[in-house]
Amino acid sequence: MRILQVSAFCVLLAAVAIAQQAPPGLVSIQEVAQGLPADGSRWLTFGGNYANHRHSPLTEITPDNVTRLQPLWTFQTATLGNFETTSLVRDNVLYVTGPQNLAWAIDARTGRQIWRYRRELPSNLTACCGLVNRGFGVLGDKLFMTTLDAHLIALDMKTGAVVWDTTLDDYKVGHSSTIAPLVVKDKVIVGAAGGEYGIRAFIDAYDAATGKRAWRFYTVPAPGEPGNDTWAGDSWKTGGASVWVTGAYDPEQNLLLYGIGNPGPDYHSESRKGDNLYSNSLVALDADTGKLKWHYQFTPHDVHDWDATEVPILADLPIGGQTRKVVMFANRNGFYYTLDRTNGKLIVGKPFVTTTWAKEIGADGRPVLIAGHTPDEKGEVTCPDLTGGTNFWQPSFDPSTRTFFVNAREVCMTFISWKPEYKAGERYTGGAGQRVRESESPAWGALRAIDPATGNRKWEFKFLSPSTSGILTTASGLLFSGDADGNLLALDSRSGKLLWRYQLGAPLHGTSPTTYMIDGRQHLLVPSGTTLTAWALK
């Protein structure tokens, strides 16, 4: 009798399943590699696509109707700390990482939680700069997430249960990880943060199925490896050069392109004479082996904490009468770069904010330095400040107009430095900075549209104070971003004209809105403070 009941239940289930729309299967690598599809049904990787365009093909929301946006729902994290995440979406479900090692699956129709994951933080955690996370990677039925205590974990997409858990390195000596994993072929690419703790950082690739490490690229070469001679003495051992912002992937060349953080100690020049490779560089690695193909160092021997952990954007652009395969990069040091991504050679290098430390980028690709900008105990004033001309918040690229958009900062700082002592697990910076008084040098910001073929500015939208928001553009000619005062902004991406705004109560910080389709309506998802808000047209 019982067997009969179970059989009947199974038949019923099968009938219901046939009546319902068939669910999509596992997330394939082809789906991830496709980027943002025209139907808006998914957002499966950090920058929308491997080239990090953060540019959506969706056109339902336009410059003409954007004023009709209305909020649909709000989701609160109910914890301390702010969102810096890029949410993924598939089959009407959002996959969201948050501060404090939290993550959720959320019904994209209603904002209601489906599952929640929480990982207990060690009490002696040393993560330097906020208990944040920048998003999931996804493949098959697994979500991949780095953790503040320097693990990479795989979660079951349907339940949030841990499938595997791999240690990147020891958090007790300063390693942590906040980066959104990049999934390429069968591998999960991540990096180690902790540049303020004298770690020796790395980029790792892990097998998506098992969590087993496939390769490691140390961002500071050891003795016997090329580049080690750019570190005086044993300074390479505490060289930092952390990796905390997701790079790009060029499938044609099978190249990973990742920006590398500052050398340690951050400010004290004498502690690490030399260029300090591969700090402050863009590295191009073979995605299968992790072998270095080329590198370009934006700031050799950096002494201002100008991590090159900004987001690289890839495109093929007509420059000088030929199509060039380029990588675009607005750097914390105040210069905008267009590089040839087949060899790392400089095509364009031009300031996009006020820079006082270098006159220009020379023909050899190195900055032409202006004297007097090495911090000492008395202090020296340099522009930009330590947060930089821009930073880890995401730029966007509109291929139809070939325009690069970035939130830029105009801020100067007094940098000071002293000889630090290295103690494992403690801060190792050898300096600090203090903003120049407002009356002497006001701090402000602007969202700038840049022509990547020349580095020239097309337009700018000025802010009272510098914004730390990422940028989303759409094929309808819209640009979504935020200011430092909590305003969500919609601009015309061709002119920079303000079209619509809404006061969110907290700024977008280090993240941008994203957009996708739910039930035939274009949605805009906005992470700010502890809140996600979904919007659509009335």
């Binding site: 910076t429 600090a432 203090q434 407002e438 009356s439 005062d485 006061q503």
Partner: protein, 268 residues
């Protein structure tokens, strides 16, 4: 080991952990004058404190702390202030284990090297008359111990936050640096009326002010004629024509008694 012996050992172990010997904070900085501690303390101070108190300790958003010893504070009192923060102010607590006792003493050892020397000139002025001068000239805009106006900063703690020299310069010569929340601003209404006040907040689209009648109000920029920032502080300059040298001495003497607590009561 029998279970009784084991239990006795366990209980004594628990008690040893549960009731450690009472720890006391030294009254005098054990690291004062120690060159290594001063160097380490400089790093700690510059990373943790300089943003508010300034690289030279003379105050930016936070108070001038080069005067704290002259103002009668003690090493152990300062240690406790940094450890616990200051309730009702922006001064945070620097708690263990992230900030160790040694970190705190090192920072104080460094801060001592920035400390202003004890004033050579004898203390001048009559605080009692200074209080009267304050009530006449200052109290319309400044509050002390819940009495006075709101347009300017509350001065109930100014004696422990600013030196005599800084206060004197501020009164006699004014300042072009504005504390957040006190920058001068004028809003012109669509009808052409001017509303003067100090700016409490602003973004691209709106400004929030306290006007000279102490009305707090927000204005949308696209609905008013103009929003103009003032270049000089809303506080007038008090030259000798408005405030005699003698009354200035008295006023400064009075202001330096304002420490947010009763100095006759021993601080914990």
């Amino acid at each position: 080991m029998t279970w009784r012996v084991f239990a006795a050992v366990f209980v004594s172990w628990v008690l040893a952990w549960a009731a450690p010997a009472a720890q006391t904070t030294p009254t005098k900085n054990p690291l004062e004058g120690n060159p290594d501690a001063i160097l380490a303390g400089m790093g700690g101070y510059r990373v943790r404190c300089a943003d508010c108190h300034g690289l030279d300790g003379r105050g930016v958003r936070g108070p001038d702390i080069t005067q704290v010893w002259n103002a009668g504070r003690t090493d152990d009192g300062l240690f406790k202030t940094i450890r616990s923060g200051v309730t009702g102010s922006e001064m945070p607590a620097f708690a263990a284990p992230r900030t160790s006792d040694r970190d705190l003493w090192q920072m104080l050892a460094y801060l001592k090297t920035l400390a202003a020397p004890a004033p050579a000139a004898p203390v001048r002025g009559n605080a009692e008359n200074g209080a009267k001068v304050f009530r006449t000239l200052c109290a319309a805009c400044h509050k002390v111990d819940s009495t006075g106006g709101r347009l300017g900063p509350d001065l109930s703690r100014i004696g422990s936050a600013r030196s005599r020299e800084v206060l004197l310069a501020r009164i006699r010569r004014g300042s072009e640096d504005f504390r957040a929340g006190f920058a001068p601003v004028t809003v012109t209404t669509p009808e052409g009326a001017s509303i003067q006040g100090v700016k409490k907040n602003e973004d691209l689209f709106s400004v929030q002010i306290m006007d000279t009648r102490e009305r707090i109000q927000g204005y949308e920029k696209d609905k008013v004629k103009a929003v103009e920032n003032g270049r000089t502080s809303a506080m007038p300059v008090f030259g000798p024509d408005r405030l005699s040298d003698s009354d200035l001495d008295d006023l400064l003497r009075y202001l330096l008694t304002l420490r947010g607590f009763d100095p006759t009561v021993k601080q914990q």
